[in-house]
Subunit: 315 residues, 2 copies
């Protein structure tokens, strides 16, 4: 397809939009905060407004792609449910096509981010899993160069594999999902426990000085600044991530596991202990090569680029 596509990435805190060229270049972009009330009607209005603005600025748009957190039915593009958003059974693909007159595709946010990393990243992969570590833990599974979704798009939810059945409650309602132990939300929980146990510690002080509650962000800042308590919490999270990665590399035969999402900006703080645990729990390393665990090429832009790429391919 010759023209450009719009890619929209619906996250918990913001909606990122971009006009993307077929080679993956972002030629224009736009970001809006996710409304407090993230129900389907509010979100539809927001998305249509962003598409209008981007098309006014870049008329050469031939398709629209959306990546959204949660369970997205494929290829119908209905967002059925998401553990951390309010929208439910939202037929966003139909609404976009009707309102814009353009072909549209809607997929899980980590699926499209995985596609961008596999097809357009610095290294190209045919067999790759992207794990995004942000508020939640998302995943995009690329097998033989294609996104694996399952027949209706309900598969590929690696954030909710069980890594400790006696583990903490997850946003999805289960206990001990990878997300409950290896996400920003997990860091909020362990950070608050640490702040309560040590009100004079760096984590509690950092939040108090800013006049905010302790969140994963507070712990991350304290860890980057070198606080040993925060670093230990970060190392715990990263170890759980590594345990999950080990299982993923046992199930699939991969060229790489790529880590995306906000927390990967901490670099080795996350990747170091994750790699260590992934190696410790890797299966049959006598005959199965250890799979590299690498940061993504596109960082938080992978979702909007991948959504546009998928729109160019499928819409």
């Amino acid at each position: 397809m010759a023209g450009h596509a719009i890619g929209l990435d619906i996250g918990g805190t913001k909606v990122a939009g971009a006009v993307v060229a077929p080679d993956g270049t972002v030629v224009d972009e736009l970001t809006e905060p996710t409304p407090e009330t993230s129900d389907a009607d509010t979100m539809t209005r927001l998305l249509l407004g962003m598409v209008d603005t981007l098309r006014d600025r870049q008329p050469d748009v031939v398709a629209v792609g959306v990546g959204a957190a949660g369970t997205v039915e494929w290829p119908s593009g209905r967002i059925l449910w998401a553990p951390n958003n309010e929208y439910r059974d939202w037929a966003i693909r139909d609404e976009l096509e009707k309102a814009t007159g353009l072909p549209a595709v809607v997929d899980n946010d980590a699926n499209v981010a995985g596609l961008a990393e596999a097809r357009l990243g610095e290294v190209l992969y045919k067999e790759m899993v992207l794990i995004t570590v942000g508020t939640g833990v998302g995943s995009g599974i690329v097998l033989d160069g294609q996104i694996y979704r399952g027949p209706r798009g309900l598969g590929a939810e690696l954030g909710h594999i069980i890594v400790d059945p006696n583990g903490p409650l997850c946003g999805c309602g289960n206990h001990g999902c990878l997300e409950s132990l290896a996400s920003g939300t997990a860091l909020t929980r362990t950070g608050r426990e640490a702040a309560a146990a040590d009100p004079d510690g760096a984590i509690a002080r950092l939040a108090r000085d800013k006049g905010v509650e302790v969140t994963g962000q507070t712990v991350t800042e304290a860890a980057v600044a070198g606080d040993p308590t925060a670093r230990a919490l970060f190392a715990d999270l990263a170890r759980w991530l590594g345990v999950g990665i080990a299982s993923v590399t046992t199930i699939f035969e991969l060229d790489a596991v790529v880590i995306g999402g906000g927390l990967v900006d901490t670099g080795e703080l996350l990747l170091g202990p994750a790699r260590e645990a992934a190696a410790e729990f890797a299966y049959a390393t006598q005959v199965r090569p250890l799979v590299p665990v690498l940061p993504g090429t596109f960082g938080s832009a992978a979702g909007k680029i991948g959504a546009a790429l998928l729109a160019m391919e499928c819409a």
Copy 2:
């Protein structure tokens, strides 16, 4: 392909062979005990002898298929390594083709068993995972009607996903693999602990009366006979199996999880608590249907039937 194929299933205690018709009917069969020394040379001689015997009895054989526990390189048919057998880097496909003059295929035992269940079972499946619970835990993943192996055959090892990183040592060298908690070997370990803790209990008595050490088999017999301690150990094992099943149904979008291997002969003793835990830990049941957990159609014959089926398709 018109003629029959020989299917061979290499297990830890026996090698099962069969001559199979294209519709899956077993027209002849033969079983040999696995030699104490299961190195590549000994095993090759055994397999070639079985093929000769079966061809003498059924001359209409056009291909040979083998299913073997462990990591089998695909399509080369080299068995690289197995946690519970002695053979290492065994080029069995080449040896079979050279010695028999027939085309041969070699694959993981649970892969071919999964193929038999998906293609020839009472219910046909396009999206299905077979989990075999015997000495170890094996798996065959069927996606869109095809065995998923990964490009070199090194994927699909669901027995070695990590369900408890602080769990017991597995035969593979890791801690807390599904196999370390939900296999016959796990039952041997927990049964011995129970017998040591209660030398007058049913498990210890059953082994003493037979003049054998406690094994998973002892615990299974005591559980079937109604001993509450053995039943509790069995329920623990089955719960871990269910935790693993839950993760599998989160990763893949499946029509069914089929349970094979020797322990499934206990029926609801294994399947009841496994289903319960699989439901408890299933992801997003608001929108994702609960996946049925069912016993296989072919029981322990699935491996040899599937090996023959694969030989007819690929060899």
